[in-house]
């Protein structure tokens, strides 16, 4: 009982801190916090796919797809912000389900390679369709909420809160059982009645939706992007490392990983240019070799059946 009450106090404190943070800090920290929250969304979204044993590089593609769809509909079709986000999400759902079906039988590394190829094809398409996307010159949108960082913070915190709710649901419902079973063996899971196709597609689609939302937020927040930035593999990699290092298959892990790594990154960025990506590489290697369960570890006991 004691352990639980402590946990709830910590969660409540974190939530309160998250809400009041922009009001007690300056612009620089607000900006940093916004990016951290965006990465937390991405890290969680990557973890959603990982839970169904999908090592996906597709979230890079969906991040870019979200960014470009919402920017283009906002600019060229004069959609209001919420509608441009909605269209981006809808398009993402369609693409994710199509890609999911196409790669249904691919497992492990084969799926990873295919998802990487998908992201890179999207990059080339963005570069090669300058009439729509602005090509290599990129695309610019007016600043979000007139540049009021507090509102931006509120929006991304809202998106993260949604992702956390989804994640908690996945962790505590029948999804958790299905995912755990599929991670050991999809065949055995299916013989025991798990509709593996459905769970695989839903985890992949959920992952895509939140990557897309992060991307759509990103472009409006930074007001400009180019294909090499929106489809930059480094963004995907960073969120992957955050999830792995924080602890896979959990809600706290990816969020914690995002916070820790973003702080390290910011420190590194100031001290050694380029250095922070080296750190990401090293942390990924070290994490896999020495800390396979991440910072939080897999705490099966918290979940289902208790």
């Amino acid at each position: 009982m004691k352990k639980y009450s402590l946990k709830y106090i910590l969660v409540a404190a974190a939530a309160i801190l998250a809400v009041i943070f922009p009001f007690i800090t300056g612009e620089y920290y607000r900006h940093l916090a916004i990016l951290t929250l965006m990465y937390a969304v991405l890290a969680l979204s990557w973890d959603f796919a990982a839970r169904a044993e999908l090592v996906s590089f597709a979230h890079t593609g969906f991040f870019g797809l979200g960014a470009y769809t919402s920017a283009v509909t906002f600019l060229k079709l004069d959609f209001p912000l919420y509608l441009s986000f909605t269209v981006a999400v809808l398009l993402t759902i369609v693409v994710a389900i199509a890609l999911g079906y196409l790669t249904l039988r691919l497992s492990g590394i084969y799926f990873a390679i295919a998802s990487l190829a998908f992201s890179e094809v999207l990059l080339v398409v963005a570069l090669q369709l300058p009439k729509v996307t602005g090509g290599a010159m990129g695309i610019s949108v007016p600043s979000l909420f007139g540049g009021m960082r507090v509102y931006c913070y509120g929006l991304i915190l809202g998106i993260l809160a949604l992702a956390v709710v989804v994640s908690l649901y996945l962790e505590r419902s029948h999804f958790h059982l299905a995912f755990s079973a599929m991670r050991t063996s999809p065949s055995v899971a299916s013989v025991l009645g798990v509709n593996t196709v459905r769970y695989r597609l839903s985890s992949f689609t959920l992952s895509a939706i939140f990557s897309c939302l992060a991307g759509a937020f990103y472009v409006h927040y930074t007001t400009t992007t180019i294909p090499y930035e929106a489809f930059n593999l480094n963004i995907g990699v960073a969120s992957m490392v955050m999830a792995v290092l924080g602890g896979l298959y959990s809600t706290v892990g990816p969020v914690l990983g995002a916070i820790v790594l973003k702080i390290i990154e910011e420190y590194m960025r100031v001290t050694i240019p380029y250095g922070y990506m080296i750190i990401y590489g090293l942390l990924l290697v070290a994490g896999i070799l020495f800390l396979p369960k991440g910072l939080v570890g897999v705490q099966n006991k918290w979940k289902f059946l208790k």
């Binding site: 044993e53 084969y110 990873a112 398409v125 990506m277 090293l282």
Partner: protein, 290 residues
């Protein structure tokens, strides 16, 4: 240039470049086929070798092609060490860990190169770099021709080793029937070590070639990993012999798209990804057994 000539030139360009693809991909295929290990950091060894070639050339004036035997041996040892230190611990840990580990190494090496060498593109100006010979109005870059020939020699050598030597037979045995190979007393551990050594060695030779006909930059390695993957996927995963025609297909397709499509060079970058996607999707119809 009339159309036939253009067609011929595109074909020749594609063939000339495919040798380097085949070298890079055969290492990837070997590691995948034998060790059942996908090395996403494969291209980074190629990138390191390219920089190595450039440094040695600019300091001592040694032609990279002449250095290939030495570089091969050096990188063979590097590959063996890589296996011992990093690959072996994750071999039993599952695919996710292997992928993330090698990807981490890849990112680390890319950005290390970026830190040390900067983002600028580097090339070597060997005397024959821009020299060409012409047949029927079609230009053959001398350097590229050399390199294609060298690739062919090396690939033939690899196949001969795989077919005719004791080591080669052990490698094939482990790749086809790991448990059976263990039963007849083949030490899979040393086979893995040799296979990864050869794989990295071949990547290094491709890297030396790269420094002559293309250029070295921190990202070039990953690009070659991806192209190598496209070749390996088309050849059939782990199939070392299928690498040749798949490399030819990739080289020629890229070349044709670059020449004949409007703004084609941009699209040719998407080709190998479509080949990966297509290749995997077609091959996935094989049903998983337990």
């Amino acid at each position: 240039m009339y159309a036939g000539q253009l067609f011929g030139q595109a074909l020749v360009n594609g063939i000339l470049v495919s040798g380097i693809y085949a070298l890079a991909a055969s290492g990837l295929a070997l590691a995948f086929g034998v060790v059942k290990f996908l090395n996403l950091a494969h291209g980074e060894f190629l990138m390191l070798a390219a920089y190595f070639g450039i440094i040695v050339f600019s300091t001592y004036g040694l032609d990279p092609l002449l250095m290939t035997p030495v570089v091969f041996i050096l990188f063979f040892i590097l590959g063996a060490a890589y296996y011992k230190a990093l690959v072996k611990p994750v071999l039993k840990a599952g695919e996710l860990n292997q992928l993330l580990l090698t990807f981490g190494i890849s990112i680390f090496l890319q950005n290390l190169a970026l830190l040390i060498f900067g983002g600028t593109i580097r090339t070597i100006s060997v005397p024959y770099r821009t020299h060409t010979i012409s047949f029927w109005g079609i230009n053959f870059g001398t350097a590229r021709l050399f390199i294609l020939l060298l690739s062919i020699v090396l690939l033939v050598l690899l196949y001969q080793v795989l077919q005719r030597t004791r080591v080669g037979r052990s490698i094939r045995a482990v790749s086809q029937e790991p448990e059976g190979a263990a039963l007849v007393g083949i030490d899979s551990e040393s086979v893995y070590l040799i296979a990864l050594g050869i794989a990295v060695g071949f990547a290094s030779v491709a890297g030396m070639m790269l420094s002559i006909i293309f250029q070295a930059e921190p990202m070039v390695g990953f690009n070659f990993t991806l192209k190598g993957l496209a070749v390996v996927v088309m050849a059939g995963l782990g199939n070392v012999y299928g690498v040749i025609w798949a490399s030819l297909l990739l080289g020629i397709t890229e070349s044709f798209i670059g020449v004949f499509l409007p703004n084609g060079t941009g699209w040719s970058g998407a080709i190998f990804f479509l080949m990966i996607l297509g290749g995997l999707v077609v091959r996935q119809s094989r049903v998983r057994t337990i």
